[in-house]
Every structure is written in structure tokens, then in C-alpha cells.
Amino acid sequence: MSPAVALRKLVTIVCEADMESTLLPELARVGARGYTITEARGQGARGVRDGAWRASSNIRIEVLCDAQVAGDLVDMLQARYYADYGMVVFVVDAAVLRPAKF
């Protein structure tokens, strides 16, 4: 692949749709420069969330960032939101173009 490729972290957060307005400023605060959101539904420890109305819909947020920001992001979510909200977070290594962007 082209020389401009470098490894970064892809952090994916699946959470309640109602958290969007709360979480987005937090992402910026820990240093994320962007995000991508898709609408989702699912099931987990807190039961089925079928997307029939906003209160039972999920969103799936993806953040590409460096390892430092990824760590801070995960720690922040753990410290402030994990206890009270239906939420799943996972981190994957991803090769990106224009690494300076993330």
C-alpha cells in the first residue's frame, strides 16, 4: 500500500440514541477530530432495543484516532457512562490514509 498509510485506532461505541447530544461534545474534549454515526438497534444485557421509537434506538459511533486519544476516550466512557447506560465499546487497529488527520 502507499507510503502515506499508518496505523491508528478505530473506536466503535454502540449506545442509546438519546446519548448523542451528551457524548459528541465529550468526544471533542478528549481530542477526537471527527466521528461517523449510523443508526442501529440490538440486544444486550439491558434487553432488546428494537428501534421502534427513539427511546429504544441505538446509535453506532465510530472514531478514528491515535492510540492516545483512543485510550483517553475509552477511559472517559468507562468512568462517566458505563455504569448508567446501555453501551458497548470496542477498539480495532486500522490502517489509514492521511494519518495526520486523526
Partner: protein, 314 residues
């Protein structure tokens, strides 16, 4: 008892949910219908409001908002003391029951209309006014002595929330445009109202069916609470209406407002302001029990009471 046909749609949705039908109304349709209903209710109220002096409403509005605040306060005590619920859960549920349900109000209006019982359009103003205060009370109860509430964010969340924006915006549009100005829009906002309400109720039935399971886990106390509270709150509404010398139609609407519990604005606001509260409890009670109860039994009951209390007091 003659049935409001729109309620049949709610029951069809409930049934479809219970038999695990693959009938699913896309979430987007839910959003679109709720926008339509909020705007249309606001506009209808605004057009009627144009016929009255807004100032005349100030005193009744203050009385209504004041007595309605007793609902979340009393509910909180019952939930804490009798139900032994945690402070956040009790506060969140109290906020739901103190606030109001737009769709329950719409069904009550349509119940009155099909019985040719007149009611005043400005009742919508109370609908808009009653949504917010109970939510603030709920957050206050949850956080008392703790601090850390971002009141500004919360106020913004609710005041700029879609239900207030659409209700108040509709009121304003109806009021500014007046009956003649609105008339070309009547075909959509008034003629289609009842059919759209029927669709929305179909969807609410599907959603409510999913909530019943949540509630089953919560035990019998919450079930009793979810039926007892609207009856008591409805009575409070009737007394307030009596105090303000409301007509029977207006009294039924006010009782319904008091008795109804929120499931649009409240869940979102509580999720953000009181995250430790379990939404399965508040939504299960509000949508799984109180909403159907009001639709099927509550509204006719408040009507019956309004008619007879009139006699008692007179």
C-alpha cells in the same frame, strides 16, 4: 360504552406486538407522525386562541401549573415510601407522571368531539405549559442536596426539545395566521388529524406491547401505582377545573392532562439528567399501563366524574 374507534388501532398494535407479528412501523414514521400531531395540536389551539384574550388565561394558567405540581411531589413520596424505590427511580417516575401526554390529550379531544361536547381550543396552552415544570421538579428531587445538575443544559434540552418547539410553534402559527390564514392548510392539519392519530396509536400499541415485559419484571407495586396515580391526578384535575369554573368539556381535558403521563419529552430528559434511573421502570409504567388505562377507561371515567361532580358542587 361506545368505543372511540381510534382506540381500536391501539389495540390492534398491542395485539400484533403480543403475537409477535412481523408488523413493524419504521421509527422514521413514528418521528414524522409525532411531528405532525404536535404541530397540528398546536395550530388548532392557536387558531382558537385568536378568539380569546391571552391575558384572561394568565390566572387560570398559574393555578393549573401550581396544582399540577402536587402530582410529581406526591408521586415521589409514594414511590419512595410505599414502593421503596431508589431516589433516582422515584424522581424519574414522578417526573413522567407530573408531565403530560400529547396523544392522550388528543384522544380525549376526539372523545369529546364525537360526543358533541364542546371544549375550548385554548386548553392546548395548558398542555404546552404542563410539560416542563414536572421535569424540573423530577431532577430537583433526584439531586436534592447533591448539586451537580447542569440546569442550563436541562432547561435547554426541554425548552428547545421538539415537543415544546412544535407545540409552541404551532400555537404561534395558528395565532398569527388566524382561521382564514390557516384555512388552506386545514386539509392536512385538521382533516387528516384523526386518521394520523389512528396510525400513531397503532404504532404506540406495538411499542407498548414491548414495554409490558419490562413491567412484569418490576412487580405489582408499580402496576397499582400506574393505575392509581392517573385516577388520583384526574380527580385533582377535576377539582382544579371546578375551582376555575370550567365547562364539562374543559374539565375532562384538564383531568386527562393531569392523569396522563409523558413518554415523549420525559424519557429523553430523564435519561440525560438522571441517568442512574432505570428507564424500563418509568417507561414501562407510563406507556405499558397508564397510557392504555387512560385511553380505554380513564377518559370515560373522568367524563363520568366531571358530569357528576358538577352536580355535587352545584
Amino acid at each position: 360504552m361506545s368505543f372511540e374507534p381510534v382506540i381500536l388501532f391501539f389495540m390492534l398494535g398491542l395485539l400484533a406486538g403480543v403475537v409477535r407479528s412481523d408488523l413493524k412501523i419504521p421509527g422514521v414514521v413514528y418521528e414524522a407522525l409525532s411531528i405532525f400531531l404536535l404541530l397540528a395540536i398546536g395550530m388548532k389551539g392557536g387558531v382558537e386562541l385568536a378568539r380569546h384574550s391571552v391575558l384572561d388565561l394568565a390566572l387560570p394558567a398559574a393555578v393549573v401549573v401550581g396544582t399540577a405540581l402536587l402530582i410529581p411531589l406526591a408521586a415521589f413520596q409514594v414511590l419512595r415510601v410505599v414502593g421503596r424505590l431508589s431516589r433516582p427511580d422515584a424522581a424519574s417516575i414522578a417526573a413522567h407522571y407530573g408531565s403530560v401526554s400529547v396523544v392522550t390529550f388528543a384522544v380525549a379531544s376526539s372523545y369529546l368531539a364525537s360526543r358533541a361536547l364542546p371544549a375550548d381550543g385554548y386548553m392546548t396552552v395548558f398542555l404546552a405549559l404542563l410539560e416542563l415544570p414536572a421535569l424540573l421538579v423530577g431532577v430537583f428531587l433526584a439531586r436534592r442536596g447533591q448539586g451537580g445538575v447542569r440546569w442550563k443544559a436541562l432547561l435547554h434540552e426541554v425548552l428547545a426539545g421538539k415537543s415544546i418547539v412544535l407545540l409552541a410553534g404551532g400555537l404561534l402559527i395558528g395565532w398569527l395566521a388566524g382561521p382564514q390564514g390557516i384555512q388552506p392548510l386545514d386539509r392536512v392539519f385538521f382533516d387528516l388529524f384523526k386518521g394520523m392519530l389512528a396510525f400513531f396509536l397503532l404504532e404506540m400499541g406495538l411499542v407498548a406491547a414491548g414495554r409490558l415485559a419490562d413491567l412484569r419484571r418490576a412487580g405489582p407495586f408499580l402496576l397499582v401505582f400506574a393505575i392509581g396515580t392517573p385516577i388520583c391526578a384526574g380527580l385533582l384535575g377535576l377539582l382544579t377545573a371546578r375551582l376555575l369554573d370550567f365547562s364539562v368539556g374543559n374539565s375532562v381535558l384538564l383531568a386527562t392532562l393531569y392523569a396522563s403521563s409523558s413518554y415523549i419529552a420525559a424519557p429523553a430528559a430523564m435519561r440525560i439528567a438522571v441517568p442512574e434511573a432505570n428507564p424500563a421502570l418509568s417507561i414501562g409504567a407510563s406507556l405499558g399501563v397508564t397510557f392504555p388505562f387512560n385511553l380505554i377507561a380513564g377518559i370515560p371515567l373522568y367524563h363520568w366524574l366531571a358530569t357528576h361532580l358538577k352536580g355535587v358542587f352545584a
